[in-house]
């Protein structure tokens, strides 16, 4: 990474320094705090503020996580993207240690926080950011008494993401194939954007140094290779692997072989930009009767095979901000008015394929409106759902072999799920 960070700050929601680590001694906490508190005061809504800001020779880059800001300061022309990625990684590390990263957890653990800040960066250059590795030599209080601390084993290993001597009584692997569907539909009901982001998420609880081999269905692999296949063509674009996967092997014979890190990680991610039929289609009609009453009719249709079922479906329908006294009827599920979001939230626990459900709602509107404030909200209808045992891409795990020299039998568990990502229909 070109250029080094000068300091790393953890700030509270008002922009005051909670903890900071000075790496190079050329940016002071007072300076950073003064700048940052001014910045968030001025903006009011920090969400609209660019995450990279320049002030008086110093560049500040920050991200927010719950009620904490993480910020780096630098005087050099740093690799901006890297540092932002790095900050997110720091969040992961803290979350690993404290369950949740928030002001309280930092206040309770100053010492560990300092220790971590010391190891993740040295003199402004990122060092170890793998929570698993760090936790080998930085322990929280609970473990501290029992285990003697050693420098990270991984350092001397060829496998930097896994250390030796891991032991489980029961050896298990969980593999989740998760695909999230992003869709954008405009007010004419046309799909203007649709793509699917997929991930093979693994959680491994395996002893020793296990060799894993994953076999996917041929079609997916052949396509990844760029060969034409028969049948429904789905292009997996931009496949990415976790650093543990031996890419050379994949290039040669299409096997995904790897020594997994301990715990959870994303083995492989991919993107699918082929336009797919929206899995759940929503239509809405709004009728305004004079200025006293508004009637909303929503139709939701599942457009997948009958053998699959969507669960936890939530349809968020925007309603005028000044609407009141809702009167709602649904043919399935329950609907509740959520005035804090100016929306009607329609929940359907279970939504089988090929079905259509209706919602009809009526709201009263105030007869007098403030002329100035009639700023029409143009919020889209947003949909959330999960469809288990189903993938849009058709990706399938053929086998997952685990070989360890001690010869134990490991249990692989595979699960498929498709869910809504950014699923927006601008229909109202």
């Amino acid at each position: 990474m070109a250029g080094a960070a000068s300091a790393l700050f953890l700030l509270d929601i008002k922009g005051r320094v909670l903890v900071w680590r000075d790496y190079r001694g050329d940016v002071s906490a007072a300076q950073a705090e003064r700048f940052f508190t001014k910045l968030i005061e001025k903006e009011g809504d920090p969400q609209s503020q660019d995450p990279v800001v320049y002030d008086n020779g110093v560049t500040y880059m920050f991200i927010q996580h719950s009620n904490v800001y993480l910020m780096t300061a630098t005087r050099q022309n740093c690799n901006a993207a890297s540092l932002l990625f790095f900050l997110h990684r720091v969040v992961d590390v803290f979350k690993h240690y404290f369950e949740e990263l928030e002001e309280e957890s930092l206040r309770d653990n100053f010492v560990v926080v300092y220790e971590l800040l010391d190891e993740i960066m040295d003199f402004g250059y990122p060092q170890y950011t793998e929570a698993k590795i760090l936790s080998e030599f930085i322990k929280t209080d609970a473990y501290r008494m029992e285990v003697t601390q050693r420098p990270p084993m991984a350092v001397t290993n060829a496998v930097s993401w896994r250390s030796e001597g891991i032991n489980y009584k029961k050896n298990e692997v969980f593999l989740d194939v998760v695909e999230s569907v992003n869709i954008l539909v405009n007010s004419n009901g046309q799909i203007i954007r649709s793509d699917v982001v997929g991930a093979l998420k693994m959680r491994t609880y395996l002893s020793g140094m296990p060799e894993c081999k994953l076999g996917l269905n041929d079609r997916v692999l052949l396509e990844a290779q760029g060969r034409a296949t028969k049948g429904k063509a789905i292009d997996l674009e931009d496949i990415k692997f976790h650093q543990c996967v031996r890419l050379a092997r994949f290039e040669n014979d299409r096997t995904i072989s790897f020594i997994p890190p301990d715990g959870s990680f994303d083995l492989m991610t991919y993107r699918l930009s082929t336009q797919v039929k929206p899995l759940i289609w929503v239509e809405a009609q709004v009728e305004k009767h004079s200025r006293s009453r508004v009637e909303i009719m929503v139709k939701a249709r599942s457009q997948f095979k009958e053998r699959s079922t969507a669960t936890n479906v939530e349809i968020m329908v925007p309603v005028p901000a000044d609407a009141s006294s809702p009167n709602v009827r649904t043919s399935m599920g329950s609907a509740a008015y959520a005035p804090e979001n100016d929306a009607l939230l329609w929940k359907i626990r279970s939504f089988p394929g090929g079905k259509e459900y209706m919602l009809r709602a009526e709201f009263t509107l105030p007869s007098i409106t403030d002329e100035e404030a009639t700023q029409e909200r143009k919020a889209p209808i947003r949909v959330k759902f999960e469809i288990p045992y189903f993938t849009v891409s058709g990706i399938q795990v053929r086998y997952l072999k685990i070989i360890e020299k001690s010869g134990y039998q490991a249990l692989p568990w595979v699960r498929y799920i498709t869910m809504a990502g950014e699923y927006e229909l601008r229909l109202i």
Partner: protein, 841 residues
């Protein structure tokens, strides 16, 4: 962590005031210091923890220094860590006390536990107390040789820290060469990576004073080192991979097969899960293929998918950083992403900084085939609740309209905006309609009909008001009530706060007067009276000027104020292509996010290792198309060539201005636009010429005052040049840095020459026939840049030339440096004559 910072804040009532608690702690620590009782470590731990948290919330606990050091005699690693932390924090403000700690830190550096050795060494090096450096050398030396890689890794960084405290101590102890050895031989990749960071910093800083250091710096990007690192790249941590990739961009492969080898090797890095690695790899690919146009295009195709994935997955901050890079690439190759425009549609929940960039992307990728969809999408945003974004969207529609040939549909959309009757929408749309009319006067009929219906009372924003007034003046013959609207505006002269609006009002009333004299006469009188009495200097001057020119001769006044205009074909781009190239060279850094090169926002001492890339790797020999310029040169250029003062302000301003077009019209802007309309602006705003050298050249040209278009070919001077001159690039660079500019001038290039200059190569061959050799060249139409050199016949006296040719203005900016200053004039004449023959022979 630093108490000086925190202690400025007055402790709130809820926090302990500190005083009594601190003395309490002191007492307790003292009691424990000598104790060997079982369980004492636990109680120490509690106390230490208290000290650390007091320190963190800003209570000054430096008075405990002695007690803390006394208690540090322990084998408990947690206690040690806390103690190091405390010491590191207060050592700098208490250098005398720091001396106390040296002893136990040095002892810990020899501890049997590698963890303690490493931590102690890190603390020792982080004290940052100059008079203690002598104690660092020993522990660092043994740390570098430690058999545990954790200690070595810490020690390497320690060397760098030492260098920053005392460079001479570091160099004298010969640490850099030990680091070099470690970099090439250590088994642990984090040690290697840290060596690389440290050496880059040290050699770059030393290079300005030491020949040897600059050689060492070059050795870092030599083939063996690069290959060694590339072969191990998969072992490195993701951040270290970024570091290595960064270094590889500075490497100049000897031939194309080497380029392909490197790219094949790195191909799979594009699939890395960490976006930082992907971006770094992309940079390598782009830099390596700069001189291979076809491959470069393929690279764009290849990197498209990973980039788009990075945009749409991950955090908004990530999207923001990646979109900034995409934007830069799109400016260079708009067609590559033109079919992926849907990726840049805004999501409802995205933060506005992402939305803003996406709007810029949509503007940049719009072309004949996708404009309709993009504009439809943008119109959706115009009704957005988020007003800034709505405004940006309307502006984006306008920008697209100005880029396109077929604006039919867009004009309709813009006119619909005007009818939406939201103040901010109307305001933005008015400004756009005005620009549109200047480019496409044929639409005036449709536009005027709609604009005529807008009541000037509903328009408050200065920019919009100025636009409306401009249209009233310009199209007063088509707008029935133009004189009366203007008259009512003039009546409220005193209530108009914006000088810009008043300036426009003056000009508009003048124009209207020429077209419909009887109706406007009284308004004109009132406007001139108001203007002459105005407290604003520019308004006053303009009013007085109009008044006098009217008195002198009305028809002359009309020729000056309202000459027949040609449509503006291209609005001036605010950012020169050179600046853009320079940002591109700093791909994957803050430059891209700020849309300005690093020297504009970093201090000299903080430029870091990046700078050395520019000086070194990229000034390649001969015809390799490479438009990189050493920092210093660009800086020099900036003063006279690249940016006019006003443009500099533009780039400093909001980021959308950076890449956007400013639309100059009448007197409100100082950019250049090549049309006759210029006379109007130039004459009506006399302050303009002073602001912008480029503008004044252009005006001089138009007025026939400038440099003659085809200068007489000067007679060849007496100077003879060596036909077989030779100079290696590094000597060139060095000389260029050392020598002062002997001559700097602007030369016109004849039209044949401009026509022949389709690629830099043509000129190179021509100049070579005049014994002037090219060492580096680059650029794309219309801007080409060359570095030439020549040598005096039978003497080793060199001439160095930087020549920037702009084919659209047919001008060459030439800077000459010479070993022998006395003959530089002769050489300049020779150079000019050679250049002037280009294309004619």
């Amino acid at each position: 962590m630093a108490p000086p910072a925190q202690s400025q804040r007055s402790p709130s009532p809820s926090q302990p005031s500190g005083k009594s608690e601190v003395s309490d702690l002191k007492l307790q620590l003292r009691q424990l210091a000598g104790s060997r009782a079982p369980g004492v470590d636990d109680s120490k731990r509690e106390l230490f923890k208290k000290v650390i948290s007091y320190m963190t919330i800003g209570i000054d606990v430096s008075s405990l220094f002695g007690e803390m050091v006394m208690c540090s005699a322990t084998s408990d690693i947690v206690l040690k860590k806390m103690c190091y932390l405390y010491v590191g924090n207060y050592a700098k403000v208490n250098p005398d006390l720091a001396l106390l700690t040296i002893n136990f830190l040095q002892r810990d550096c020899r501890d049997e536990d590698p963890m303690i050795r490493g931590l102690a060494l890190r603390s020792l090096c982080s004290l940052r107390v100059a008079n203690l450096v002598e104690y660092l050398v020993g522990p660092l030396g043994s740390g570098l040789k430690d058999n545990n890689s954790y200690v070595r890794m810490v020690a390497v960084m320690g060397v760098l820290k030492l260098y920053h405290i005392s460079a001479s101590t570091c160099i004298d102890a010969d640490f850099p060469s030990i680091l070099k050895h470690l970099m090439l031989h250590d088994s642990d990749t984090q040690v290697v990576a840290n060596c690389l960071s440290a050496l880059q910093e040290i050699w770059s800083a030393e290079a300005s004073t030491s020949e040897e250091a600059s050689r060492e710096r070059e050795a870092l990007i030599s083939k063996p080192v690069i290959y060694y690192l590339l072969n191990r790249i998969k072992e490195f941590s993701e951040w270290a991979q970024c570091l290595v990739l960064e270094l590889v961009t500075k490497y100049v492969p000897s031939d194309s097969s080497e380029i392909f080898d490197i790219m094949n090797l790195l191909e799979d890095r594009l699939q890395h899960a960490n976006g930082a690695v992907v971006l770094a790899t992309i940079r390598v690919f782009l830099q390596l293929t700069l001189s291979m146009t076809d491959v470069h295009q393929q690279v764009y195709e290849r990197i498209k998918a990973p980039l788009l994935t990075l945009v749409s997955s991950g955090s908004p901050e990530q999207s923001y950083a990646v979109l900034s890079h995409l934007h830069l690439l799109v400016m260079r190759a708009p067609y590559v992403f033109s079919s992926d425009y849907k990726h840049f549609y805004c999501q409802y929940n995205e933060p506005s900084y992402v939305k803003r960039l996406k709007l810029e992307m949509l503007t940049a990728v719009a072309n004949e085939s996708n404009t309709y969809e993009i504009v439809t999408e943008l119109c959706e945003y115009a009704a957005n609740v988020d007003i800034p974004i709505a405004r940006e969207s309307i502006r984006a529609v306008g920008k697209i309209a100005l880029q396109q040939y077929d604006v039919n549909a867009i004009v309709d959309r813009l006119l619909q905006f005007l009818e939406m009757e939201k103040d901010y929408v109307t305001a933005e749309a008015l400004v756009l309609v005005k620009d549109l009319l200047r480019k496409y006067p044929q639409w005036s009929h449709d536009c005027i009909a709609v604009v005529g219906n807008i009541s000037s009372k509903n328009v408050q924003e200065p920019k919009a008001k100025a636009a409306l007034i401009w249209m009233l003046g310009e199209y007063s013959q088509d707008m029935q009530d133009a004189p009366y609207v203007l008259e009512s505006l003039v009546e409220n002269w005193d209530e108009e706060h914006s000088a810009e609006v008043r300036l426009h009002l003056l000009t508009a009333v003048m124009k209207c007067f020429f077209k419909r004299p009887p109706e406007t006469q009284s308004a004109l009188g009132a406007a001139l009276a108001g203007g002459i009495a105005d407290f604003h200097q520019d308004v006053h001057d303009r009013a007085l000027f109009y008044y006098r020119i009217l008195r002198y001769n009305v028809s002359v006044a009309e020729r000056v104020v309202n000459p027949p205009k040609q449509a503006v074909s291209v609005f001036a781009d605010t950012q020169s292509s050179e600046i853009k190239d320079r940002i591109f060279d700093e791909f994957n850094s803050l430059s891209v996010l700020y849309q300005k090169p690093s020297y504009m926002f970093t201090d000299k001492e903080h430029r870091g290792p990046l700078e050395f890339a520019d000086e070194l790797g990229n000034l390649s020999i001969g015809e390799a198309a490479n438009n990189v310029v050493p920092t210093q040169m660009v800086e020099e250029n900036d003063k006279d060539l690249l940016l006019t003062t006003s443009e500099k302000e533009e780039t400093k301003g909001s980021r959308n201005n950076g890449s956007a077009y400013t639309v100059p019209y009448d007197g409100s802007s100082t950019s250049v636009f090549a049309s006759q309309a210029q006379i109007e602006s130039a004459v009506s705003n006399p302050t303009l010429a002073g602001h912008s050298p480029q503008a004044s050249f252009a005006i001089d040209d138009l007025l026939g005052l400038g440099i003659p278009a085809t200068p007489a070919v000067p007679s060849p001077p007496q100077l003879k040049l060596n036909t077989k001159a030779a100079l290696d690039p590094s000597t060139f660079q060095q000389k260029w840095r050392q020598l002062p500019v002997a001559l700097s001038q602007e030369i016109s290039v004849n039209p044949q020459g401009v026509a022949a200059l389709t690629a830099p190569q043509a000129l190179l061959r021509h100049m070579q026939s005049h014994s002037i050799h090219c060492i580096a060249s680059g650029g794309q139409s219309p801007n080409f840049k060359f570095f030439f050199f020549a040598q005096k016949f039978e003497e080793s006296s060199n001439y160095l030339v930087e020549c920037v040719i702009n084919t659209s203005s047919a001008k060459a900016q030439v800077k000459i440096k010479a070993d022998d200053q006395n003959t530089s004039q002769d050489f300049s004449t020779l150079f000019e004559s050679a250049l002037s023959k280009f294309g004619t022979s």
